[in-house]
Amino acid sequence: MINRRNFLKIVSFGGGIALASKITFELTSQENNNEHKIEGLKAKRWAMAIDVQKCDRTPDCKECVVACHNYHNVPNFDNPKDEIKWIWKDKFHNAFITQENIYLPSGMNHQTVLLLCNHCDKPPCTNVCPTQATWKREDGIVMMDWHRCIGCRYCIAACPYGSRSFNWKDPRPYIKNLNPDFPTRTRGVVEKCTFCAERLARGQMPACVVACPSKALFFGDLSDPGSEIRQVLSERFSIRRKPELSTSPEVYYLV
């Protein structure tokens, strides 16, 4: 039997020189691959800003939701109790439930806002996961490893934003158009938005950001003062959901 250490040596990066003579693959290799963004998009702290005013101009628009859910094979159960959502819309007064100012500009409470996982800088969900199936990456993305999730739902209890959904049933029959390039989940697994980690790795912006016809979503590196998201955040007043919980949500709402 090959042991783990040897295996890693053989397969890992830059390794396997000793075995190079044995390996018979003849796939072409390229030293400098400029054509493909192998590096992907990188950041020190990914974050999103949502222009509530722009988004609310088309309250029935669901382009971002459809794009995300189609891309990620998110099932559509008709029963709201089984609902799985990565990104969804709700009324302002539901989204900002602890907003204490009751004298808001007229209509604001009924504006439609877009909700998704906040990829909190201090995520309570990751602390409680017994299997490290969810964790905060170095670039701030609160990632999911569905291979590891045992479905204990601690993370659902820990998330104060309702960002996580649980698959009570096998989701496969409830996915209309399967995207073969992305996996589905199984019964007993928690899922949520991953800031399109797999798209970022290929140099693409998140599916919702690309899909928004109103260009109401800004996505970028908070640690870069020149980034577009820092630009909009410095020009417009923004709020975050339940900041008093010190989870440090990284989805900003431009109001």
Partner: protein
């Protein structure tokens, strides 16, 4: 030396071993076990990321390693000696569906052949979507 009640003991032993090995006999006599795996290899691609012998024995380790590299460490491409491997001019992702299955596009005629023969049931397919045979 005399074996008291010898025939009873021998008979008992024969009955015992016949009964004990029953699953083997059932298996051998059933039609299923006589179907040897018949792997269909991709016609238009000739190289794999590793040699055939290695893949025969260790493809599961390779896939586990790929899985952890991609999901947990965010390393996405197959790198050998510091160089990204390409396939049809595209960098090769460490991915069951985006790499392996692009060539081995018929699960029934490839993966299932050995898995069924050995009665192993990998749960890859609970989530990863199998190509509808003959995918380009």
């Amino acid at each position: 030396m005399k074996l008291y009640d010898g025939w009873k003991i021998i008979l008992g032993l024969i009955v015992f071993f016949a009964f004990f090995s029953l699953p083997v006999w059932i298996n051998l006599s059933s039609a299923q076990s006589r179907v040897k795996p018949q792997l269909e290899y991709p016609k238009d691609s000739k190289q794999c990321v590793e040699n055939k012998d290695y893949m025969n024995h260790y493809h599961m380790n390779l896939l586990n390693f790929w899985r952890d590299s991609v999901v947990r460490m965010n390393y996405r491409y197959v790198v050998r000696n510091g160089v990204v491997l390409t396939h049809n001019g595209k960098p090769l992702e460490m991915s069951l569906t985006l790499a392996c299955l692009k060539c081995h596009n018929n699960k029934q005629k490839f993966c299932d052949q050995c898995h069924n023969y050995l009665d192993v049931k990998p749960y890859c397919w609970d989530c990863h979507i199998e190509p509808k045979g003959g995918l380009k």
